[in-house]
């Protein structure tokens, strides 16, 4: 079997291999309780990566995801006493709007998405700092439990985060594989000129992809703030790199068009296993980003479709 044929299967083979290696090294790792706890822990990152998938699937990237999540933790904490349950809606709308602006800047002003989303991320980060007064804020415990307690509870020994993640991935998979929008996303990612020449409104599709990415980053932020019962403009720092890693090791290349949300699910699990194995091998938390940086480079080098690149800058 050649490498080309093997490529689509690499993500789950990698996952399986990692699980076995870590499982043999650490007998506690494979216990159901540990696996469930590990999975629940990774859900906010997974949601962010899920959004990122849409941006990368069309051949772009969303570097604002982490800042949008940061901002959302602050908005959620500040808005909770004022809006109650509608806080969730506010957060999602804020994420949609910022993502939409990124998309607008990318498609109408023709600014590449890595720079437009970086700029929008700067704006989001600053909004978070401004709203929070640069302090960590805390939620009123009673209100949090009343409105959003369901997000972090557990039923039958399974944490609710896992249900949230499952619902989102099923919805995203449905959008990707069964809707006109999902098909258009694929066409834009795999062959934009042909999509244009088939009368697809490519700019609108791209704007929607970035808006969804923003909205999912906001949902990730909301979940953070509920879990930690508070908000701060730096709470999600360190999540951007693992989120991108999750998408790419899952098998959605930076050039877009192949892969998708299921790949990101596998990719996120790989990230989760790498993380817990670092704990097991006692890699210091400050050094974890080094590992993710290296994994990112390897993943990009292996997945990127060089025939789509004219020049690498």
């Amino acid at each position: 079997m050649t490498l080309e044929r093997l490529k689509p299967h690499l993500p789950w083979i990698t996952l399986l291999a990692l699980v076995l290696v870590v499982g043999i090294g650490d007998s506690n790792f494979l216990k159901p309780q540990n696996l469930i706890a590990m999975a629940a822990d990774i859900v906010p990152l997974f949601i962010m990566a899920l959004g990122m998938t849409f941006a990368i699937y069309i051949g772009g990237i969303d570097l604002s995801a982490q800042s949008v999540a940061n901002m959302t933790t602050v908005i959620a904490t500040v808005a909770l006493p004022l809006f109650g349950p509608f806080t969730a809606l506010l957060c999602i709308v804020a994420g949609l709007a910022l993502g939409g602006v990124s998309g607008y800047v990318t498609t109408r002003l023709l600014v590449p998405s890595f720079i437009s989303t970086l700029a929008i991320g700067g704006i989001a980060y600053s909004i978070g700092q401004y709203l929070s007064g640069q302090r960590a804020l805390y939620m009123d415990a009673a209100m949090r439990d009343g409105y959003f307690g369901w997000m972090v509870g557990s039923s039958f020994g399974i944490p609710h985060e896992l249900f949230i993640g499952a619902v989102l991935v099923i919805a995203a998979y449905f959008v990707q594989s069964r809707t006109v929008f999902g098909r258009s996303l694929k066409a834009v990612g795999a062959g934009e000129p042909a999509a244009v020449a088939s009368g697809i409104n490519v700019a609108r599709i791209k704007i929607m992809a970035f808006a969804i990415s923003g909205a999912l980053a906001a949902i990730a932020g909301l979940l953070f703030s509920v879990k930690l019962s508070g908000g701060s403009p730096t709470i999600a720092n360190g999540f951007l790199l693992p989120a991108i890693v999750a998408v790419l090791v899952g098998g959605t290349p930076l050039t877009g068009g192949v892969g998708g949300v299921i790949n990101t699910l596998i990719g996120t699990l790989i990230v989760a296993v790498i993380r817990s194995s670092m704990l097991y091998f006692e890699v210091d938390a400050t050094r974890q980003q080094m590992v993710f940086g290296l994994v990112l480079i390897i993943a990009i080098a292996m997945t990127i479709d060089r025939s789509k690149l004219r020049v690498v800058k």
């Binding site: 069964r178 809707t179 006109v180 929008f181 098909r183 258009s184 694929k186 066409a187 795999a190 062959g191 000129p193 042909a194 999509a195 244009v196 020449a197 088939s198 009368g199 697809i200 409104n201 068009g257 192949v258």
Partner: protein, 501 residues
């Protein structure tokens, strides 16, 4: 001096050069003519080292040589003046002239700009161009840039011992008449320094400048004539000439079109430098072919009808309604289908399967509230796979993996299944083998019979004549002549070429 013997070059599916013999003597100017796709550019690329031949030998002064890349060819004295100019416009003239060869002016890692400027001035003097070598290239006119390119190639004279061979690829295409004359005078003077190979579409220019002329067709040299006894007619016949089999183009199936039903019309439409003052009507059942050389405006007209280009003036009418918004989306909604030349880039999405590609332009018709009805899509694909006998294991096959002919059928099925009745065909048979070409011709006739109006840019002139009801000949963006092509009373190749060049 420089000689090719039985040079062969093959690409997947194409035999681009068939046993070419070619030679050029010291100080000689050799012309090279042929239709698009005759193999001129491949031959040039072999000569200046961009391609390596699969067979045959290249000799310089009877010594065999082999070039891995253009730089090695340059070291043997072979330089190329590109048609699409190769100067980097934000560098100065002298930086361009010595691009890649700055080392001669470097001392202790620093470029001696004065020395470079002086050397550049000497080169510019060879082409009689009196400009400051420190100028930014973008500020030069096209004619000046052409001369700078020539000067750049002439730097070989100092670097190489031995003779120079300089290739000029369509050097006159962007020049005005006086500039062409200047260039020709210069080239003649420069024959004391170099030999030239001159490639052009314009037969009169080739005859005027060249000492000998190679005529190419289908990857072969079909004739070599000396300019003294050259005859334009004879060369043109050689260039285009095999006997055309009328059956091949399905002429017997050509039915008269419906003159009362106009599907698309142009009224005095102009677009920048691409075309000017174009008017025509496309009727139901008509095959209207736009004929002209590369850059004569054919493709731009097709892209305007589809909505990918917005004209500056004039009015475009589709099915009785004047077009206001020029977007592909509105074109598709009006029932226009575009089969582009770049099949794999614009025609279909590689990585998507047959049914996904077929419904790409009409997903709304196969969805409810944004959710696709996959079953119906697959059924549609199966129907059209049968109807056009597309060779694919199933409707789930990735279109990128189909053969060229079957890809073309998928593109046609995409538009026809959506009910498009204005079909734009840009080189629909490019790169297809003969059987697949005949399938395309059958489809053209079938569409005509269904009352579809077809705007065609054909791959060859024979194809244009064989398929069309009407031919419009374009040159430099303007209509030269209009031919009616009723079966049995079709214009000849020569009639067309006469207006094209």
């Amino acid at each position: 001096m420089y000689e090719l013997r039985q040079v062969d070059k093959k690409f997947p599916g194409v035999h681009a050069l068939k046993s070419i013999d070619f030679k050029i003597g010291r100080g000689e100017i050799v012309g090279l003519v042929g239709e698009n796709g005759a193999g001129k550019s491949t031959l040039m690329k072999v000569i200046y080292g961009a391609y390596q031949p699969d067979g045959g030998t290249i000799t310089i002064d009877s010594v065999a040589v082999r070039f891995q890349n253009p730089r090695q060819a340059m070291q043997k004295g072979i330089g190329m003046v590109f048609q699409e100019q190769s100067l980097i416009t934000n560098l100065t003239v002298m930086e361009n002239i010595f691009l890649g060869y700055e080392q001669q002016f470097v001392k202790f890692g620093v470029v001696n700009w004065k020395a470079m400027a002086a050397a550049a001035r000497a080169q510019l003097a060879k082409v009689k161009l009196d400009i400051d070598p420190n100028m930014i290239t973008a500020k030069l006119s096209f004619a000046q840039r052409q001369l700078v390119e020539l000067a750049k190639v002439l730097t070989l004279e100092e670097r190489v011992d031995g003779d120079l061979v300089i290739l000029l690829d369509e050097p006159t295409s962007v020049l005005a008449k006086e500039e062409v004359e200047l260039l020709f005078r210069l080239v003649r003077e420069l024959t004391t320094r170099a030999s030239f190979i001159f490639v052009s579409h314009r037969m009169d220019e080739v005859l005027e400048l060249s000492d000998r002329i190679y005529v190419m067709k289908d990857g072969e040299v079909v004739d070599v004539v000396s300019a003294a006894d050259a005859n334009v007619d004879a060369i043109q016949h050689k260039m285009v000439g095999r006997d055309v089999d009328k059956q091949y183009y399905r002429e017997q199936k050509q039915e008269p079109y419906d003159a009362d039903r106009t599907l698309a019309s142009f009224d005095a439409v102009s677009l920048g430098k691409k075309y000017r003052d174009i008017s025509f009507d496309l009727r139901a059942g008509e095959v209207l072919c736009l004929v002209g050389t590369e850059g004569s405006g054919r493709e731009a007209i097709l892209r305007t009808v589809f909505g990918l280009e917005t004209p500056d003036s004039g009015s475009v009418t589709l099915k009785g309604e004047e077009v206001r918004a020029f977007t592909a989306r509105s074109g598709v909604e009006k029932g226009v289908g575009y089969v582009p030349r770049e099949r794999k880039v614009e025609g279909l999405v590689g990585g998507m399967n047959v049914y996904e590609n077929m419904t790409l332009s009409q997903m709304r018709r196969y969805s409810t509230a944004g959710v696709l009805r996959l079953g119906e899509e697959r059924q549609l694909a199966r129907d059209w796979i049968d109807k056009l006998s597309i060779k694919t294991p199933s409707e789930h096959k990735d279109c990128g993996g189909l053969s060229g002919g079957n890809q073309q059928k998928v593109v046609l099925a995409k538009w026809r299944s959506g009910g498009s009745d204005i079909i734009l065909l840009d080189h629909p048979t490019r790169g297809l083998d003969i059987g697949a070409k005949e399938d395309v011709y059958d489809m053209v006739r079938a569409m005509s019979a269904d009352g579809v109006g077809i705007l065609l840019v054909a791959d060859t002139l024979e194809e244009a004549i064989g398929l069309s009801h009407t031919i419009i000949v374009l040159k430099d963006g303007e209509v030269q002549h209009r031919f009616d092509c009723a079966p049995g009373a079709k214009p000849t190749l020569y009639d067309l070429v006469h207006y094209m060049i």
